[in-house]
Amino acid sequence: METKAFQKIYTKITQITKATCSLKATGIGYEEMAFVHGRLAQVVKIIGEDVTLQIFSGTEGVPTNAEVIFLGRPPVLKVSEELSGRFFNAYGEPIDGGPEIEGEERQIGGPSVNPVRRKQPSEFIPTGIAGIDLNNAIVTGQKIPFFADPDQPYNEVMAMVALRADADKIILGGMGLTNDDYLFYKNVFDNAGALDRIISFVNTTENPPVERLLVPDMALTAAEYFAVDKKQKVLVLLTDMTLYADALSIVSNRMDQIPSKDSMPGSLYSDLAKIYEKAVQFPEGGSITIIAVTTLSGGDITHAILDNTGYITEGQLFIRKDTDIGKVIVDPFRSLSRLKQLVIGTKTRADHPQVMNAAIRLYADAANAKTKQENGFDLTDYDERTLNFAKDYSDKLLAIDVNIEVDQMLDIGWNLFNKHFEPAEVGIKQEFVDQYWPKN
């Protein structure tokens, strides 16, 4: 526990709730950190001499005469190259048995980047998954979440994306990870021999939920260090942001705030934006790309967490199981990468945008044909062909086990068009048809 000389110790707590306590104190700065009964806490409200502190690990067992020591600073993280390969808790303390980090103390949750100093993201991050690279290409400096039901293998997919993506550092912010998932990440990174470029801040389900609130800021402060100071390409993985938002609602509830939609605090949008907007392409070359996981229940995207996230992030990736082929796919309808336009057709082959759109349109036709079929109607020849196309498309391109180059994905697309359709049915610019339509 860090203490300094001449610190005033308060011992008279006037109020205790489940997550906060209040006391009389003077000269306290807003958002200042403190120890209450040996637990880390942060100032969330000051009215005159009444100071309210949020205790991250909860107030169970805190006595009214507990020692309260103010640290005179907001939460900080020590940053240096030593962070690489290490595992930390939500406070930035090592949990891997290794030594303390030596380095410069940086305030977490620091200021935002001046929008005119940002650079337009322009570097394609290939992942080998066609559902992402072909339909929803990801770009450095982008922020994009996976929207997935809890039973989907989102942690596996994210780990796969992280390892395949070309990044100098991968920073994992785990919030409410089960111990099993935590060990899964640890193993995967270890086995890939990538541990030295990975830094993890982990709050597991065994830790108090409010602690999670620190995890994204810790992870992103480390990310800013590597992206700004070291000009590196940093990939930040945040899982699971739904549990983060739940922690926000717990705190706001304890603070007697009026909840807005779905019992979430009215500031949810700003709170999430503050995190996601740390994704940036710096002019000097470094970048922070954020890939997050937001779990949803029963595919309900109208829930406040999903909804606000969707408005903040640059798209979203839906993963679901396609029962026709028995594989997990990246859903082409609900998934979207807003920054793909910056790279597809320019950084990738020129026919990329048109092949992508045509395939999705045909896939939509197949969905209509399927509805027709389910309602017991006869299918036209075209309907039959779209259904066959959809099956191939799902299997050869959308499935997450695909691992190929973009050019190959495009060629597969053309082959599938040729196999099932006439050029006029596909509706692609003639010049591309002339160039790429397979000559039989």
């Binding site: 935002s112 001046n114 005119v116 650079k119 949008y269 934006a273 907007e277 606000n308 006029a424």
Partner: protein
């Protein structure tokens, strides 16, 4: 609001996030601006409530580290913007700080930068003469700002009539040089420079009258211009669930719309989208002037991670700048993305002040605030007989895509055009995803505008539009029937009817915002293509089976899409048109 000699001071008494309670030693005004001293850094804040000797202020920046008893200085004025030459091409934050003048990659707290250039010399040309009697907003002279004539006016704050006593000669002056001396009604002389200040939350009313809009504002977006036109000086809004192409549509409008000046208020939205504007606009050619688009654009950027309170201010800052340029007789297009974020900023504050909440925890007066803001747009006749306009299009981000939420409902009452983005259209990649039938433009029914269409586009334009709408409605109806009864459960002509609607959808409504040619369509060309699809509608075709119908129309659509992708009336265009003609001959019934 008069400046008093002794400025009120105060001390911080309490802090909850960006709401700060200040104990004051003198009078304070509602909405007055004050600066809180945090170890030498001046945090800007606005009074939003007063209780006894305590002023509740919302701080425009992070309050981290702020302490009770920190000192506060009040300024005696509301949040104001500085108006003068040099606003064009600027990137401001919500409080009109010039973002390009800030140092470093990260925003620093308490950093305020000059919105204009103190030393830059402008080529001034007098317009008024000695002895002229002018009112607020009256033109004294002009300077060339980029290519635009920027009028130097009698300040909007001035009341009554002013006689021009002297006017400087044509020449180069800075914004601080005196360019005119005017005499007020009491005989007092006042020196005027090129700049003036105005409080953003108050509408500038320096015009003679605000008639009903009567002209079309061309946007190059077919589903808007042809089916749901917006008038110059009109208001519209685009609600849409995320991922339906709201931002792409707004960018298309800002690039193509026929306006002298574009103001983009990026309010609480993604920083990378603003960066896209920053990066692209300086490169994009302005089709109207042949220069760069950025030269007639001003951007107010308050992205979602920037302080919440300044987000609210940003839309007002943008509107005030628009009103200033409108008073110069210019056509302004103001885009705000998104007004929902602004409403959420209001909600966060109202929540912290523990006000009784209205629907969805929004403040009770939200509808009034929104309609008040929309009413600041409009077409105006200025006092000197010239005209200027602000066309305002706001986006709304309805929570959960639910159009019954308070922000959408309040906006629906205020805006005259409604561009409904449909999730279903977006899912099937039918972009722009504006639902042609859900959307409406009240302007289309204005007799003033109807007359304008007949004169300027086609004498039968209104009838053609209503026919196109009917075709779409009928197409949608039969498509439902086909879904219920099955393809072979309906007569072949049902398929014919369905596909004639699809042709309008694919050829007119759908437009590729990323294609060089297709992204913007002139009215001439819109008329040409609409006539084409209506001709096809009037043509009788003969089919043996329903299966023929779909594949035949698809070939036709493909042909017409190729036309959309080629330069209007180019050889390629004509070649496709010829092929289309022979395609039609194939199945034309006698």
């Amino acid at each position: 609001m008069e400046k008093t000699n002794k400025m009120t001071k105060g001390t911080v008494a309490g802090i909850i996030a960006n709401l700060v309670f200040v104990e004051v030693d003198g009078p304070v005004h509602q909405n007055e601006i004050c600066y809180i001293d945090l170890e030498g850094t001046k945090l800007m804040a606005e009074v939003i409530k007063v209780v006894g000797t305590q002023a509740y202020v919302q701080v425009f920046e992070s309050t981290r580290g702020l302490k009770v008893n920190d000192t506060v200085e009040f300024t005696g004025h509301m949040l104001e913007v500085t108006l003068g030459p040099g606003i064009l091409s600027k990137n401001y934050d919500g409080l009109q700080n010039d973002l390009d003048k800030m140092e470093g990659v990260f925003l620093k707290r308490g950093e305020h930068t000059n919105p204009l250039e103190d030393d830059k010399k402008w080529e001034f040309k007098p317009l008024a003469k000695t002895g002229d009697v002018l009112e607020a907003g009256g033109w004294l002279g002009e300077v060339k700002e980029n290519w635009m004539p920027h009028k130097i006016m009698i300040p909007f704050k001035f009341e009554g009539k002013y006689t021009v006593k002297s006017l400087t000669d044509a020449g180069k002056y800075t914004i601080h040089d005196t360019i005119a001396v005017v005499t007020d009604e009491k005989g007092k002389d006042i020196n005027l420079t090129m700049i003036q200040k105005w409080p953003v939350k108050v509408a500038i009313k320096a015009y003679k009258e605000k008639p009903r809009p009567f002209k079309l504002l061309e946007t190059g977006v077919r589903v808007i211009d042809t089916l749901n036109p917006i008038a110059e000086g009109g208001t519209g809004f685009i609600p849409g669930p995320f991922g339906t192409g709201k931002t792409v549509l707004q960018h298309a409008l800002s690039k193509q719309a026929e306006a002298d000046m574009i103001i983009v208020a990026a309010c609480g939205e993604r920083a990378n989208e603003v960066v896209e504007i920053f990066t692209e606009f300086p490169e994009l050619d302005d089709p109207r002037t042949g220069r760069k688009l950025m030269e007639r654009t001003t951007i107010i950027a308050n992205t979602s991670n920037m302080p919440v309170a300044a987000r609210e201010a940003s839309v007002y800052t943008a509107m005030t700048i628009a009103e200033y340029y409108r008073a110069m007789g210019l056509k302004i297009l103001l885009l705000a993305d998104s007004t929902s974020r602004w409403a959420q900023a209001l909600r966060e504050m109202s929540n912290r002040m523990e006000e009784l909440p209205g629907p969805d925890a929004f403040p009770m007066d939200l509808p009034a605030i929104i309609s008040n803001f929309y009413s600041r747009a409009g077409f105006t006749y200025l006092n000197n007989g010239e005209s200027g306009s602000i066309t305002f299009i706001g986006t709304v981000s309805p929570a959960g895509g639910n159009l019954k939420e308070p922000v959408t409902e309040s906006t629906k009452k205020a805006a005259r055009c409604f561009y409904a983005l449909s999730q279903q259209r977006a899912d099937s990649k039918r972009y722009p995803a504006i639902d042609p039938l859900e959307s409406y433009s009240k302007y289309a029914e204005y007799p003033e505008l109807e007359e304008y269409f007949r004169e300027n586009i086609d004498p039968e334009w209104p009838e053609k539009i209503s026919l196109a709408r009917d075709i779409l409605i009928r197409s949608r109806e039969v498509s439902e029937q086909i879904n219920i009864l099955g393809d072979d459960g309906v007569p072949i002509e049902y398929h014919d009817r369905f596909w004639k609607g699809e042709i309008i959808d694919f050829v007119i409504l759908q437009q590729d915002a990323f294609d060089k040619i297709d992204r913007s369509t002139s009215l001439e060309r819109q008329k040409y293509m609409l006539n084409w699809v209506l001709d096809i509608y009037h043509t009788k075709f003969s089919f043996e089976s329903f299966e023929d119908v779909g594949s035949y129309f698809k070939r036709m659509i493909n042909q017409m899409k190729q036309m959309n992708y080629s330069e209007f009336e180019s050889d390629k265009f004509k070649k496709n048109e010829k092929e289309l003609n022979s395609l039609i001959e194939e199945r034309k019934a006698e």
